[in-house]
């Protein structure tokens, strides 16, 4: 683990597979099942999906940048304290993510009120988004170097974004055509079935 402690911004291993994995074969929404609450709730409107995707990608990347050094320099047994405090990782990561999101909310509220009004309500939602905490924990689990974790987080954010935007594009159109079978809930059912079929055909292409 010693070379992992060197915060190499250019990672030593081949990072392209990691990036592609994060975006496609290990896509956070369709394969890893992280971030589903926001997916199901926000994809009926393409504007909110756009806002949420940008915010999530930003928060994921910044969280990876902030949490990797904390884990390796503060909590692991190679830290200057010399104790293995890795059991504190969950609470430390969530502390950092929540504080960072709150900081971003302050900044956006001060400098761009229109941006705050359009996506300000999603920022507190992101700090409890499983996808963000999931990225950070997976970075540690897979033992990536600093550069690789940042790229993984960015790839995960992009993967989340493309699925959100693609689904929003389809669901917005679906709302126009109500399938008049039962009492109107059928629309949402077909949206869920559509998600299932996307994932199924996805697997046929990606061949897991």
């Amino acid at each position: 683990m010693t070379d992992a402690l060197i915060p190499a911004l250019m990672p030593t291993e081949n990072i392209f597979p990691i990036f592609v994995e994060a975006m496609f074969t290990k896509n956070f929404l369709l394969v890893m099942f992280l971030g589903l609450c926001s997916y199901v709730g926000l994809t009926t409107n393409s504007d909110t999906s756009k806002g949420m995707s940008m915010a999530v990608t930003f928060v994921m990347t910044m969280s990876a940048i902030l949490t990797w050094p904390i884990y390796y320099y503060l909590l692991s047994d190679a830290s200057f304290l010399g104790n293995d405090l890795t059991f504190l990782k969950t609470i430390c990561f969530i502390l950092v993510i929540a504080a960072f999101v709150q900081l971003v909310e302050f900044i956006i509220r001060k400098f761009s009120p229109p941006l705050y009004r359009s996506l300000g309500i999603y920022l507190p939602l992101i700090s409890t988004n499983c996808a963000v905490l999931g990225v950070v924990l997976l970075n540690i689990q897979e033992g990536y170097t600093y550069g690789a974790s940042i790229l993984y987080a960015f790839g995960a954010g992009l993967g989340y974004s493309w699925v959100m935007l693609a689904t929003a594009a389809v669901r917005e159109k679906l709302i126009m055509r109500d399938v008049q079978l039962f009492s109107g809930f059928i629309g949402a059912f077909f949206a869920a079935m559509m998600a299932a079929l996307i994932v199924a055909s996805y697997f046929a292409v990606v061949k897991l």
Partner: protein, 262 residues
């Protein structure tokens, strides 16, 4: 036990650092807000339905505290919420009388189609060609743009092709009224007012051919109204709600059953 001290130290230090950073940030990036407005926003339903005429609950709260409007402009609040708002602002409030949208059209399946329409399932698309898909260019198309505009699931297209309001869900916000491309929806009090339920400016002879209940502009209602509250605007009768005493005389004399008392 040996781990307890370092663990507490690390977590405590991290927590303090984050807290200090946030305190600093909240001072540096401070945006002044009125605490009363914040408290009022907490109490309001937060549906951002637009019934009050302002773009959102936050905006409405600011105007209410500034004194531009009274709180009963919010039709989504129930009596309990009004009590709490009244306590907060120090005033007596009672809920306004409930209002619901009505359709000024009795066409739907009673009105002939101009052509077989195959296209996007929205009213806005169906009015683009040859003067709307229904033979009456001014009436309700019935493809449900109003249904989709409603965020409370309070309106649906009934079997007769006209919008039907589910009063237990309707908040009187007026989103459907704004959305209707034919502008045949309007907000009215639940009981009492008398309306001519036709918007057709077509000549009477034509209306007779295409619609069972359309107003033909004969003017009998206008002649019989004791208050003179009815006038004819381009071949359709319109009742002036300010002058109308809701006596109902016009309802009896209309040969087409085009006038209705709610």
């Amino acid at each position: 036990m040996t781990l307890m001290l370092p663990a507490v130290a690390v977590l405590g230090a991290l927590g303090l650092a984050m807290a200090a950073m946030l305190v600093w940030a909240s001072k540096v990036f401070y945006v002044p807000t009125d605490p009363i407005v914040d408290a009022l926003i907490e109490l309001m339903p937060g549906a951002n339905c637009g019934a009050c005429g302002y773009p959102g609950c936050a905006d409405a709260a600011e105007h209410i505290v500034a004194g531009d409007v009274t709180p009963d402009v919010c039709t989504s609040c129930d009596a309990e919420t009004f009590e709490l708002i009244g306590e907060l602002l120090g005033m007596e409030i009672s809920a306004a009388e409930p209002t619901y949208p009505i359709t000024l059209c009795q066409g739907g399946t009673n009105c002939k189609d101009r052509y077989d329409y195959i296209g996007a399932d929205t009213c806005r698309a169906a009015i683009l060609l040859a003067g709307t898909k229904k033979a009456c260019s001014y009436g309700c198309i019935g493809l449900g743009d109003c249904v989709r505009a409603c965020m409370f699931d309070a309106i649906e297209i009934a079997d007769n092709g006209l919008p039907k309001i589910k009063k237990y869900n309707c908040k009187g916000c007026g989103a459907c009224v704004r959305e209707c491309p034919q502008q045949v929806l309007t907000i009215a009090k639940e009981h009492g007012p008398v309306y001519v339920v036709c918007s057709s400016h077509d000549k009477g002879k034509y209306v007779k051919e295409i619609c069972e209940f359309g107003c033909i502009g004969c003017g009998i209602c206008k002649k019989n109204c004791p208050e003179g509250a009815i006038k004819l605007v381009k071949a359709v009768a319109v009742i002036d709600q300010e002058k109308c005493t809701q006596c109902g005389t016009c309802i009896g004399v209309c040969p087409r059953n085009a006038i209705v008392k709610l």
